[in-house]
Amino acid sequence: MEPLHLHYDVNGNDFTCAGEASGKIKRTLKSLGFSPAIIRNVAIAVYEAEINMVIHAGGGVIDCTIQPDQILVVLKDTGPGIPDIEQAMQEGWSTAPENIRQLGFGAGMGLPNIKKYSDDLKIDSTVGVGTTITITVRNHP
């Protein structure tokens, strides 16, 4: 079975575009007929990660690989990196500036939500180099 690849460039300077890639991935999964629970998990996890990419890293690239048994999404940016991943994973921990919080983002629930809605979450981050987040959602038929 040949997997399905989707690639998106995320513009880091435009909030109105945030959520576009996760929305497209969601629509693709709907057309494929994945179960509502799987679609919701992928949509929410990728949306949160995409927003993080816009808020903190000035954009990046998203690569999604869809297979019947799993959906793998890799979000790669060249932003500031996460100095302390354990701390960043705590609910409510946020480094988002005030202007971002006023928009209703940056409540410190991004990474915890990604973890909650994915079966597997891998974060590779180097300060000053960038962050790569790998989200896996498994499909148990």
Partner: protein, 441 residues
């Protein structure tokens, strides 16, 4: 393409083939991409159509219409009751009060009238009770009143079906109450009584003929507001009416416009949205769990709510202003149903069922193969969404191709490429329409 038009899904929105000129206004306006143009005529794809009536609004040739009942249907019954949607009250200028309008409605050929707004008040109190007693029900709870929204959820957002308020719509509840009252008054059996909804939209016609909330509708038919409008205007008397036919208050009447239903549950965390595009955006947000602290959502497919329905006679903004004026002198509500009555009778028999119209194939592997091909095709299309192929977007054409309904030759750029391949490059450049010609340096 024809194979997709099945009898499984009844629709009141229809095409008059004789009037259709085969233009692309409707295909680009349709919110669910349910229309294609083939051989010079539009085709409505039954499983995708949600009866919103946007194509009726936009068709310059009046080729789209809504199937509905005429006054002659009334003769099938011994006793008839008209059920006006509250949006009717805003249709006519210089109406002294709602009662004079109800008397006029009865006088055009009915034996009695029963206000749908009276049933709406019951639904308002039932909704309030439901929200209070069912804290585990998925939030936000989505109103079940607009049949276009219910159908939209079935087709495009099936995982939100569990959010739909499991109560009857005011129309069905009114149908039941009106028939009961008529049976008591006349002693006639139920089948001798004709209960007719006065509808602002085609979706309610569909909802009666093919209900989503029950097996058989409590209504016998639907008459369009704009059909009865002339008769209603002539029947309107300006002296004091001798009878009082009114049985609803401000809460019920307000259901005719956006915000009426949401304000009727008297809660601050209720939201009202109108316009099909806005509703779709909001449903996406609910799906992605982006909406917090909202317990109830009223969604109206038409701008302005039911006053914006495609079968109304008046501009929705004027109709709304008139409703706001007419409701001013009404009591807040006239609903006298007991708590027990509210609980037991309002529960819907069933919920809308998911419609798998968006799925590319029945199984995941076939769907993935088709999606890979679809994406590859899309890369080769110009992505101008010009509509000349008869599909609303290049993506929709690619989807039709992988579903086996048509071929790449529908794309005008493919024809150009073929001409170029045949050494007719210069001719091809001149043959395609001006918007697609390469700019001459």
């Amino acid at each position: 393409m024809e194979a997709r038009v099945t009898e499984q899904y009844y629709h009141s929105v229809r095409l008059d083939k004789k009037k259709c000129e085969g233009c692309i206004h409707c295909i680009q306006r349709c919110p669910t991409q349910a229309i294609r143009v083939r051989n010079g005529k539009a085709i409505i794809v039954a499983e995708r159509c949600i009866d919103c009536g946007e194509c009726i609004r936009v068709c310059p040739h009046k080729a789209k219409y809504a199937e509905r009942d005429g006054m002659e249907e009334l003769s099938r019954f011994s006793y008839t009751v008209a059920l006006p949607a509250p949006s009717l009250y805003g249709q006519i200028a210089n109406v002294k009060d709602i009662n004079s309008l109800l008397c006029a409605l009865r006088d055009i050929g009915f034996d009695d009238v029963f206000e749908v707004s009276a049933a709406a008040e019951r639904i308002s109190s039932g909704t309030k009770k439901f929200l209070k007693e069912n804290t585990n029900f998925p939030r936000p709870v989505i109103s079940s009143a607009c049949p276009v929204i219910c159908r939209l959820i079935s087709v495009c957002f099936p995982n939100l079906i569990e959010h739909i308020l499991p109560l009857h719509s005011p129309m069905e509840e009114a149908g039941r109450l009106a028939r009961e009252a008529a049976m008591k008054k006349t002693g006639l059996p139920p089948e001798k009584i004709g209960v007719f909804f006065i509808t602002p939209c085609p979706a309610k016609v569909t909802a009666i003929r093919h209900p989503m909330e029950c097996e058989t509708s409590n209504l016998d038919g639907a008459l369009a507001m704009n059909d009865i409008y002339p008769a209603l205007v002539s029947a309107l008397k300006h002296e004091e009416a001798e009878e009082d036919l009114q049985n609803s208050g401000l809460i019920g009447v307000s259901w005719g416009m956006t915000g009426g239903e949401a304000s009727g549950i008297l809660s601050e965390d209720a939201l009202a949205v109108d316009g099909i595009e806005n509703c779709m955006k909001l449903l996406e947000e609910i799906e992605d769990e982006k909406l917090h602290d909202i317990s109830f959502i009223e969604l109206n497919a038409c701008s302005g709510g039911c006053v914006g329905g495609v079968l109304t006679a008046e501009n929705p903004f004027i109709a709304k202003a008139r409703l706001q004026h007419l409701r001013k002198y009404l009591p807040v509500a006239m609903n006298r149903a007991s708590a027990e009555e509210t609980r037991t009778v309002l529960t819907a028999e069933k919920l809308p069922e998911p419609v798998p119209a968006l799925r590319l194939a029945d199984n995941l592997e076939d769907a993935m193969k088709k999606m890979n091909r679809l994406n590859a095709l899309l890369e080769t299309f110009p992505r101008l969404d010009c509509g000349t192929c008869g599909a609303p977007t290049c993506r929709a054409l690619a989807e039709d191709i992988v579903r086996g309904y048509t071929t790449e030759q529908d794309c005008i750029f493919r024809i150009k490429e073929e001409l170029e391949g045949a050494g007719l490059g210069k001719a091809a450049e001149d043959l395609i329409p001006p918007p697609f010609r390469k700019k001459k340096e």
